[in-house]
């Protein structure tokens, strides 16, 4: 049997808007992923630690606070610091994100940005496609190195 894709759905920072995170978590679970939800008000360190300890394939970070440009790179850096490899993990961001910051987030290592109104089926398809793709890329990169 194929190993189930493991997803960490995370609320980072002080904002309490958890409707999106919870609905996405529930739908990913129904789609057959293993889902871990961090609960509210997590620090970047806590989210990164959970990602590494739970050995997840995907980290989905939800923010409605406008603090994504400050907090998302911290999560990614802490994952590396705690011994995880952000090159192997699919990093997703969802919430209120201005379009002109999509590219900046991607440059920081985010694989996908999902705004309000995104069909969850689109997120599911993206995860299914990206998880093996990223692992393959990371493997090649390591082989070259």
């Amino acid at each position: 049997m194929e190993k189930k894709i493991r997803v960490l759905v995370a609320k980072v920072g002080l904002d309490g808007h958890d409707r999106g995170a919870k609905v996405v978590a529930r739908f990913l679970r129904d789609a057959g992923f293993e889902v871990i939800y961090t609960g509210l008000h997590r620090t970047p360190q806590e989210v990164a630690m959970a990602a590494v300890q739970e050995d997840v394939d995907v980290v989905g970070i939800s923010l409605h606070s406008g603090a994504h440009m400050a907090l998302v790179p911290k999560v990614i850096n802490y994952i590396r610091e705690y011994g995880g490899d952000p090159d192997e993990i699919v990093i997703l961001v969802g919430g209120i994100i201005p379009e002109d910051e999509f590219d900046d987030l991607k440059a920081m290592g985010v694989d996908g940005v999902f705004i309000p109104g995104t069909p969850i089926s689109e997120i599911i398809d993206f995860i299914k496609e990206m998880v093996p793709k990223k692992k393959e890329q990371a493997r090649k990169k390591k082989a070259v190195a």
């Binding site: 409707r19 939800y37 109104g117």
Partner: protein, 565 residues
């Protein structure tokens, strides 16, 4: 509302119509859906007629505006006398930035202020707290000490303007700051007008600005009631909010039921404290969401008014008719805004704002069309305010009171929503063994509210995913588009500047006085005394929001929400 003979004639005619007119037509041309329903899942019938409202008694169930049970409005003239207050929620960056935005809004014809705070302030943290990093001034204005309030209200006379503060765990601190500014401006405390949200119960259900555990949270709210009825008798001491419950995904019926239940819980807490209910009641206000299903929203507002009148008069024995009024603020539904084709949001907001006005709101915030992307730009805020002004001055809607009163559908739906909400309230009362206050606390403990709301949110999303609910521009009529709306950016320097100011305040203030004030607060909290006099003392000594909340956390402990998807 008709006599039996007329009703009989109508029933007969209806049967005849169904057989000879409707059925042959439907056989030729089918209806669009098998079943039509409201956002709450209430089935909507093909047509309503007098037989649907035959059980209603006009004088008992509707009556005239300004009279019990206030279904048609709390004031005898409603908007013919005075329009609703146009109150746009705003705040960002430092106190200077927000003061400037407020002055622009007042110049544009806004009639009341409404403050958005940043997350650190909402969570009772100072701008230099490590947890505040990246969030200072982002979604609202940063407030650390009274110094920030002095700048925020610079040039704004508190005897002329009323101000609403959307803040919950630190609500008492913010009220104290407002009182302190009033004292500085020489405005008598009994002239101060405004609202603090101060509704912790809905934080536990939905909004999640959580610091202290539920019971001490209710204790402090009751302190604010007890202090506020004497000190600031024209100030709304709470805004009992359904808005966030709805935004978290509840149905309209749940929003109505949980909000009224929370209101009952606060009243029960006040009565237990020995506060005169007739003194407190005029200082209670409500806050509802207005979503897309036009008639359901109107029915919700009308049902809320009728329910609250019955509750205050018959359940809690308030004597003064003024105590039976449910006054409310409305905000259009943020969760209904789409990032796709953002200009469509202007239309959504217009429909929602019309529902609020037809439902008899006392004040209104209309969302800006760009809010699924960022904080609103100045242009978008202006359009949102203009939407209200067009309804007020061009549409003719406010010229007669409760124009949908008597509509068979609206009256039927008002009654239906009230019944469904009562079912929930009775369940909650049962959970509390006869006390709604205990029932609400029990529901928080068991996750009852969270589960109800999460299930409704998931079911809504499933309907959208599977195309049963259409969202124009999202799951139907979608286009490829490039964003062309200007986005407001908060200056990244805000955090540094705010921390700098905080450092200066701490250097200049009398730190002995701060320590004394915080010790006083600690002892008041430990000895179960009213904490408000000590909070005012602390604020006036320039103690920070974080220091004051810190003392309360030490005494009462902190709360972690159970993780329920």
């Amino acid at each position: 509302m008709l006599d039996e003979r007329s009703l009989e004639e109508i029933r007969r005619k209806r049967e005849e119509w169904e057989k000879t007119c409707l059925q042959p037509y439907v056989e030729r041309s089918k209806e669009r859906q098998e079943r039509f329903e409201t956002l709450s899942g209430i089935e909507v019938k093909r047509i309503y007629d007098p037989t649907d409202v035959a059980h209603l008694d006009y004088l008992k169930d509707l009556s005239y505006p300004g009279e019990y049970p206030y279904t048609r409005g709390v004031y005898p003239t409603m908007y013919r006398g005075r329009l609703w207050t146009m109150r746009q929620f705003s705040g960002f960056g430092t106190a200077e930035d927000t003061n400037a935005r407020w002055k622009m809004l007042l110049k544009e014809g806004q009639t009341g202020l409404s403050t958005a705070f940043d997350f650190p302030t909402l969570m009772g943290l100072d701008s230099d707290d490590p947890l505040a990093d990246g969030e200072v001034g982002k979604v609202g204005v940063a407030v650390d000490t009274l110094k920030d309030f002095e700048i925020l209200f610079d040039g704004i006379p508190l005897d002329k303007v009323s101000t609403s503060f959307t803040i919950n765990p630190p609500a008492g601190i913010i009220l104290a700051m407002y009182v302190a500014i009033g004292d500085m401006q020489g405005v008598p405390r009994n002239q101060l007008r405004g609202t603090i949200q101060n509704d912790m119960l809905k934080e536990f259900h939905a909004q999640n600005t959580l610091i202290l555990p539920p019971e001490p949270s209710v204790k402090i709210i009751t302190d604010i009631f007890e202090w506020g009825v004497e000190e600031v008798p024209k100030f709304n001491l709470i805004s009992i909010s359904g808005y966030h419950i709805r935004e978290a995904g509840s149905t309209a019926v749940q929003e109505l039921a949980f909000t009224i239940a929370d209101g009952m819980a606060y009243v029960e807490a006040a009565i237990e404290r020995g506060i005169d209910i007739d003194k407190l009641a005029p200082q209670l206000s409500f806050f509802f969401n207005s979503h897309n299903n036009f008639f359901e929203e109107i029915a919700k507002f009308r049902a809320a008014r009728r329910m609250w009148a019955k509750i205050m008069r018959d359940e809690y024995g308030a004597k003064n008719p003024r105590s039976w009024w449910l006054k409310f603020h409305t905000q259009t539904a943020g969760c209904s805004l789409t990032a796709q084709q953002p200009l469509n949001n202007i239309v959504r907001t217009t429909i929602q704002a019309m529902a609020a006005v037809l439902g008899g709101t006392q004040s209104l915030h209309t969302n800006s069309f760009d809010e699924a992307w960022a904080l609103p730009s100045e242009e978008a805020v202006r359009v949102a305010l203009r939407t209200q002004q067009i309804i007020a001055y061009e549409s003719g809607i406010p010229d007669t009171i409760d124009p949908l009163g008597g509509s068979y559908y609206v009256e039927w739906l008002t009654d239906k929503m009230e019944k469904l909400a009562w079912d929930y309230i009775e369940r909650i009362r049962k959970m509390g063994e006869g006390s709604v206050l205990r029932g609400v606390l029990k529901g928080i403990e068991t996750g009852f509210f969270i589960k109800e709301i999460s299930n409704a949110a998931a079911s809504y999303q499933r309907d959208v995913e599977e195309g049963r609910k259409i969202i124009v521009g999202v799951n139907k009529f979608a286009i490829e588009e490039k964003l062309k709306i200007p986005i407001l950016k908060v200056d990244p320097e805000v955090q540094r500047r705010q921390i700098e100011r905080l450092k200066n305040v701490k250097a200049e203030r009398d730190n002995e006085a701060v320590k004394d004030a915080l010790d006083w607060l600690r002892s008041a909290a430990e000895n179960n005394e009213n904490v408000m006099p000590a909070i005012l003392g602390a604020v006036k000594s320039y103690a920070t929001v974080g220091e004051i909340m810190g003392v309360l956390k030490e005494v009462y402990g902190t709360y972690k929400k159970p993780i329920i998807i």
